[in-house]
Symmetry: C2
Subunit: 324 residues, 2 copies
């Protein structure tokens, strides 16, 4: 259960204390088939001795508001499905199916269809069946023009192919895969910057990249020991979720070129610190591999990956190399 | 993808046309593993030659608004999990795990915890693991005090145990299982009746009954050929979803005693016709069995079931015996 950030009315402290109580509720339902705890990018459920199901539920968040204003709900649909599939991928699973949930004050046919069609676009690319969904009109719950879009992806992974971070070792290399832009994170802050004014939808709303092919290519070529989807919490918050205790990582913020939207954020007065804590900075997915596997730069380039950091014993969490 | 009803601002026509476009989107993602089409209570996905996964996403709907006003969000959490598990059960599946999604203008720790704890109560009873979830603050999307709660349940069924209505035959018997009250359907209308006034939460908000044990007992004793979860659309709308083409059913509306809330609805001026179209009338789940299996009344009583109707060739859809 991801927390969110404190800007623009999103309270992180409350989210943290909710997590403890939610964790206790979830623990009370635990069965022997549940593998690992909450806090991963996807929940794991042992189907039998050989296979695990991986499942993740997520929403598009307030990116939807700007997408609706810009007439880009189909892209927001892509965001949702890609986000959920990317979460499931972190376990090494292949996506099987996806279900969605659209709710609004009043359902607008065109809007609902665009969202679901966008999600279906990504599902087709991912070989993931759109298996069902729910549409709900809830007058009085949503604001007049607003709607929400959430979804659940379920995938499957052989036990032997499970990626869970447990084998990550001191000296391993952090690879970064480029994002298309902001993906679907940090939009409560972006909306505050945009206000009621005009904005460039190409700059701000580029849909979330699907990392399925990248991850497949990387896994075919490397011993991928951990995978992190860079969402709310940025690179440090999300890479930290897959490191074994006792290990941290140092990331070089100069190791890649940031997409133009991050210059726009800086121009709007969003400090570098804040950008690092909230946004993906241009790296939407990370893989941790042994140093030997990171030396084949041709192979990495083919998978779209570049070295952005290193796992280090004695480092607390994930820090940037230039941090004071 | 369930539509909803036309009262109190919920437009059925729009929901119907959405369904066509959503169906096309889903069809475009179809893989050989998908079994059946949209429109069932749960989507089916072939995991291998022996087993199918069944999955359903749903929300609590506007019952949440009254639950919040009455301080009964834990019951609303029960509603959501029971609703999703009941949907999955219609395929003959056993529930495996559940994921939830809570979103609000601003997350209230206590409210989120109550919702998830209520869902966890039902998950424990169902042996269904609460595997994960998402909490989202979406300022500007939800009204100030409002929130939404949706969830997804995934279950598994052996191919040989699949319940899909295909074997339903002329002369089969419709069994009804009692509801606890309104469950989570028809609340946009109920809210209009209640307005801003006081209401009796015991009467209106009794949480959705979980039918897992009932269905298990019935299946152990009978050849259960179809299972229908009575949600929006009432008994006719939902039983019709599991009948093979060419078969209808006649239901005797006097075959069971309705819970007190239906007298309350009548007293509020909700016509019998409207009640039949929107509400469960006291029957929250239906099973269709061969006539011989319905003759063992002791056995049926043990499963909490009673005969409420009969499958008939030449009947169009599902009608009430006293219908003009």
């Amino acid at each position: 259960m991801n927390g969110s950030y404190e800007d623009a009315g999103v309270s992180l402290a409350a989210a943290e204390s909710v997590v403890d109580r939610l964790r206790a509720a979830a623990d009370s339902t635990r069965t022997p088939a549940v593998v690992g705890g909450l806090g991963g990018f996807a929940g794991l459920y042992a189907l039998d001795d050989e296979r695990l199901l991986a499942a993740s539920t997520d929403g598009v968040g307030t990116k939807l508001v700007l997408a609706r204003r810009a007439g880009r709900l189909r892209d927001a649909g892509r965001d949702l499905a890609a986000h959920c599939v990317n979460d499931v991928l972190t376990t090494g699973a292949e996506p099987l199916f996806f279900l969605d949930y659209v709710a609004a004050h009043r359902l607008d046919l065109e809007q609902v269809a665009e969202l679901v069609e966008g999600a279906a676009d990504v599902c087709r690319e991912a070989g993931c069946a759109l298996l069902g969904g729910e549409t709900a009109e809830m007058p009085g719950v949503y604001r007049d023009e607003e709607l929400d879009f959430a979804g659940t992806c379920v995938g499957v992974v052989a036990r032997g192919a499970l990626v869970d971070g447990s084998r990550v070792a001191d000296g391993d290399v952090v690879l970064g895969l480029p994002s298309s832009g902001l993906h679907a994170n940090g939009f409560t802050l972006v909306r505050r910057l945009v206000g009621d004014g005009e904005f460039d939808p190409d700059l701000l709303l580029a849909p979330t990249r699907l990392y399925l092919d990248d991850v497949r290519r990387l896994r075919a070529a490397c011993d991928v020991r951990a995978l992190a989807h860079v969402t709310g919490g940025g690179i440090p918050g999300n890479v930290a979720r897959v490191l074994p205790s006792g290990l941290g990582a140092v990331v070089d913020p100069e190791a890649w070129e940031r997409p133009p939207v991050f210059r726009w954020l800086a121009g709007q007065g969003v400090a570098e610190d804040e950008q690092r804590r909230v946004f993906n900075l241009g790296i939407g997915y990370c893989a941790i591999v042994p140093p030997g596997d990171a030396s084949n730069t041709v192979l990495l380039a083919d998978a779209g990956a570049r070295v952005i950091g290193r796992v280090e014993e004695g480092v607390e969490g994930v820090v940037f190399a230039d941090a004071g």
